[in-house]
């Protein structure tokens, strides 16, 4: 026992150094002021938080939440069938499927996102094709819309959803499906009552990963959304780098971290079944 406690020390130090201390710094700065040059001035103040309750920022805050949740839901709807297909395919197809899903990661995501600009802009490939076939008379404005941002987000984060669900489905004992069938379940009922609950851990992990990544993403919004559809992370970035209002940027970060924590806790609560609670209790 004592020895294992000592072994924990490096991990705890690492966590403190790279997670806890930066968090504390952000929280402390959020309660401070700044001078006209943008330097942080020591002394307690709620200015950062007060600025947030402006209808402009509240609107962006709401948009960010909606976009993140919608991105997560779409990712889930697209990824589950894909993960299910890969997990149940022949070993060779499984390997190829996983490689194809991870290949985009080999390319810098800035470049991948710029590729969407080429596809979506007014003189882009999609518009040219639609014009060519005569389906539209004038180019459609696709780039710099909320739809484009959503598309970019979903595109970027699908692997984060596919991989955990794939792992959960792959690890599932397939004999359970035989048992369900033996007990009279149709394929759909076996999926609904056995496969879906058994892959829940993967769904939960995937949703949290995609949600958190979306809320923190500002590059996609910059490139595909233009200046119009800003997210909270764009504001945080601009407060730190452009406007040099660190206290306000920190306050926004703190507010959003707390919001996300509450959302994730509620989500886990909702997803957790009686069986999970029993398991935690006995572990």
């Amino acid at each position: 026992m004592r020895k294992s406690k000592f072994l924990m020390i490096p991990v705890l130090l690492w966590m403190a150094l790279f997670l806890l201390i930066p968090m504390i710094i952000v929280v402390v700065i959020s309660f401070m002021n700044r001078d006209t040059l943008g330097n942080v001035v020591f002394g307690f103040s709620l200015t950062g938080y007060k600025t947030f309750f402006d209808s402009l920022y509240l609107g962006i805050y709401w948009d960010t939440l909606v976009l993140s949740v919608v991105t997560t839901v779409i990712c889930l709807l697209v990824s589950y069938p894909l993960a299910y297909y890969i997990a149940n395919a022949a070993p060779k197809i499984q390997t190829w499927g996983l490689v194809l899903i991870t290949i985009p990661f080999w390319i810098n995501f800035l470049i991948r996102t710029y590729a969407w600009v080429l596809l979506l802009r007014t003189q882009g490939i999609v518009n040219s094709l639609l014009l060519h076939f005569g389906w539209i008379q004038d180019p459609v404005q696709m780039l710099y819309t909320k739809g484009a941002v959503l598309l970019g987000m979903v595109y970027n984060f699908i692997p984060f959803m596919v991989l955990p669900i794939y792992v959960a489905l792959e690890q599932m004992d397939k004999r359970l499906l035989d048992a369900a069938s033996d007990l009279g379940a149709t394929r759909w009922k076996a999926f609904r009552h056995i496969t879906l609950p058994q892959s829940k851990s993967g769904i939960m992990t995937g949703c949290v990963l995609v949600y958190v990544s979306t809320t923190g993403m500002f590059v996609v919004t910059d490139i595909l959304g233009g200046a119009k559809s800003m997210m909270i992370s764009n504001i945080i970035q601009s407060q730190y780098l452009g406007a040099r209002n660190w206290p306000f940027g920190s306050a926004l970060s703190v507010i959003f971290v707390i919001t996300s924590l509450i959302l994730i806790l509620l989500f886990n609560r909702a997803m957790q079944s009686k069986a999970d609670r029993v398991k935690e209790g006995s572990a």
């Binding site: 035989d178 048992a179 007990l183 058994q198 069986a275 398991k279 006995s282």
Partner: protein, 322 residues
């Protein structure tokens, strides 16, 4: 109850089950016995509907079910590794089949109560599978199957993963359960002792072929093939001009008067097992050893290295085919 009509199964050109016809009676406890890879599980899976026979038909209670999926067959399988649903309690596991049949709730409750009472699980209904011991999980698997009141219960080495003592207890419970339910049991095992103890009839399988079908008594007393003779119980195989014959160890008698003996040999080993002791005798004129079982009434001191004669009565010779 079940008719297997010339069923056979090929996997990738390999014959796993050779053409097999078998009639399983209502209320019968039938065991498919054989070493691993003999095709016994494949036969069971064809009856359950998880495999389709390459040729032949499966007839259940007069109805041809060869191409019906498992969920449309009125029988249930107890899986080798139980396959309990980990996210459901014991009660939910047992209720699953009833729910799939859209049985009314009060009826479900009654069936569950019956099933848990019969399998002694009443105190454990709200537990999850991971909170149960191996023996308890096995009972849940059986309860989940019998709650459906199937016409036939199929059991795929249900006791294979349990330790010996527990296995012995569950064997007698199973036998008792089958008698009180009165339904047909088709049981798969590689354990010949288990098969002898439980079955009304045994089908001995080897390399996908039936070696012999018979009651435990027939199988033990009159094995038809060399495989059947040696797979079930111990046996001594002698060859004569007419072919092979077998004599059980307890039918051999050791004698000290060598000139009166049919064969002679040297004692290689003396094993004391309490109720019996066994002599291993290396024969003089044949390159083989025979085993002689002596009951507790024999108190003669047998010594390793001693030269003895072995006798048996001709009526105990069982002629076997190749």
């Amino acid at each position: 109850m079940i008719d297997l009509v010339q069923i056979e199964k090929h996997f990738e050109g390999q014959v796993v089950v050779h053409p097999l016809s078998l009639n399983i009676e209502e209320g019968e406890f039938l065991t498919l016995l054989g070493p691993s890879g003999c095709g016994k599980t494949t036969i069971l899976r064809m009856i359950a509907g998880f495999e389709t026979p390459t040729h032949g038909d499966v007839v259940l209670a007069g109805q041809k079910v060869t191409n019906l999926p498992p969920n449309q067959r009125d029988l249930n399988l107890v899986f080798q590794h139980y396959a309990l649903f980990p996210h459901m309690t014991v009660e939910e596991n047992i209720a699953f089949g009833l729910k799939m049949k859209k049985m009314p709730k009060p009826e479900q409750k009654k069936r569950i109560e019956e099933a848990v009472a019969m399998t002694q699980l009443t105190a454990l209904t709200s537990r999850y599978p991971h909170q149960l011991s191996g023996g308890q999980q096995q009972r849940v698997a059986i309860a989940r199957a019998i709650a459906n009141k199937p016409k036939v219960l199929l059991l795929d080495e249900p006791l294979g993963a349990l330790d010996l003592q527990l296995r012995k207890n569950l064997q007698s419970e199973l036998k008792h359960l089958q008698r009180s339910l009165g339904i047909t049991f088709v049981y798969v095992t590689h354990d010949q002792e288990e098969a002898m103890m439980l079955s009304d009839r045994i089908v001995i399988l080897n390399n996908g072929k039936v070696e012999q079908v018979g009651t435990p008594r027939e199988i033990y007393a009159t094995p038809k093939t060399l495989f059947a003779a040696t797979f079930v119980g111990e046996n001594n195989i002698f060859s004569s001009a007419q072919g092979l014959f077998a004599v059980r160890p307890e039918k051999l008698r050791p004698v000290r008067e060598l000139e009166q003996a049919r064969v002679t040999g040297v004692i290689q080993d003396v094993l004391y097992l309490g109720n019996v002791h066994k002599l291993t005798v290396h024969l003089d004129h044949e390159p083989m050893a025979v085993t002689i079982a002596l009951d507790f009434t024999d108190e003669r001191p047998w010594q390793i290295g001693e030269k003895i004669g072995v006798n048996w009565s001709p009526k105990d010779e069982v002629v076997i085919g190749a």
